[in-house]
Amino acid sequence: MSLADKLTAHVAAATGKTVNISKVDLLPGGACQENYKVELRVGDDAAETLVLRADSKGSLPGSLDRAGEARVIGAACAAGVKTPNARWLGRDLTRAGSYAYFLGWVDGEALGRRVVKVEKFAPARALLAEQLAAELAKIHSITPASHPDLFPVGVRPTDRDTRTLDPCRVLLDDLALSLNALSRPRPALELALSWLRAHLPSHSEVTLVHGDFRVGNFMVHEESGLQALLDWEFARWGTPAEDLAWITLRDWRFGRLDLPVGGFSPREPFYAAYERHSGRKVDREELRFWEVLGNVRWAVGSLYQGRRYVEGERDIELIAVAHRATEMEYEALRLLGGPNA
């Protein structure tokens, strides 16, 4: 049975209506998932363009499968987050044992380099700090108390008893294990982890975090700015400072090092907007901790991309990403000396 036929049967069963699928095209990109552009018509409704998002063969450590993503997206949409809702979750549609769901197609630009550097996106860049801060505040309003069943317990290190969860310690322990499993020791990253262990924030509020909140995961219109947040595969219980710091990592500034928030904004307008929308006070020193941790996390993630190549996934981009871990290592150690070191 073709993919189009499987999808037709699945959506028909889910909606109780006749379904006509005119196109199913595989889209490029995605480390943990396969995305297809699907054009369909359900019953007498107008024709729609959707994205089918499905589990791929491989997955990255800490990533959700599509069933987990769909749950998070449902919670995010209910909280008013600007992200297309997940519809018609199903299993075995694209491959045996894999989950998949549909999302509304959102027009715009997601490529980070274009959003940050192309002149026609200047109006959007002027809006993004306020818009993204507002979305983060909504994400961080989702807590274990409000959504106790959001993540099945025990699947990932952060999916534990949230009454005792310390997101900092869990992440540091996980990173230490990941580093230890690499074939070659990385003393620079071990030094950064040692510093992080010695400078743990005194208190970490536990909320939902996007987990990969950066330019490249936002759909942006050149005039009106943010259209949607994308890619919830790394969502988990965490602490708000993680998301606030991740977007400021050097590697996500696409060369605009003078504008630390995603290459489009200074820090203070973004932090001030987040404080207004969330009612939280942003601790700048705590953000430095998470910026160091973010660089360590991204360096480790990059090195594991290289490991995937060594273990047989012959995609040359994996080596290129792994080779850049040195940049994140340098940045993590530089930050230990203070923001101006």
Binding site: R186, E190, L191, L257
Partner: protein, 108 residues
């Protein structure tokens, strides 16, 4: 690479050719300075670990182990940071000469 890429109609293939060309450049650049880089990095590590012997890999493994155990006092920790930053900077000067090693001057 500059000869091959225009002949590749598939943009994805052309992008991969670009990556392959850059990786080849990296290998060549590293081969040209490999010994000097290795010697200087090893010397910095030997200064940190005067009681240890071995090549760079062995010294890095020893240092990594000490750091995992949080076994360095503040002075040794600061010295390790300085040495590791210097080693990383030297590697970056070959891998990505355009990488700015100074702190970004952020807009207020």
């Amino acid at each position: 690479m500059n000869d091959a890429r225009p002949a590749l109609g598939d943009p994805r293939l052309a992008f991969r050719a670009l990556i392959a060309g850059n990786l080849a450049r990296l290998v060549a650049a590293n081969l040209a300075v490999d010994e000097k880089l290795e010697t200087e990095a090893t010397q910095r590590l030997q200064l940190l670990l005067p009681n240890q012997t071995g090549d760079r890999a062995a010294l890095e493994a020893d240092l990594a182990q000490l750091l995992r155990q949080d076994a360095l006092d503040p002075q040794a920790f600061a010295a390790a940071r300085t040495a590791l930053l210097a080693n990383l900077a030297a590697q970056l000067s070959v891998d990505n000469p355009l990488f700015d090693l100074s702190a970004p001057k952020e807009s207020p």
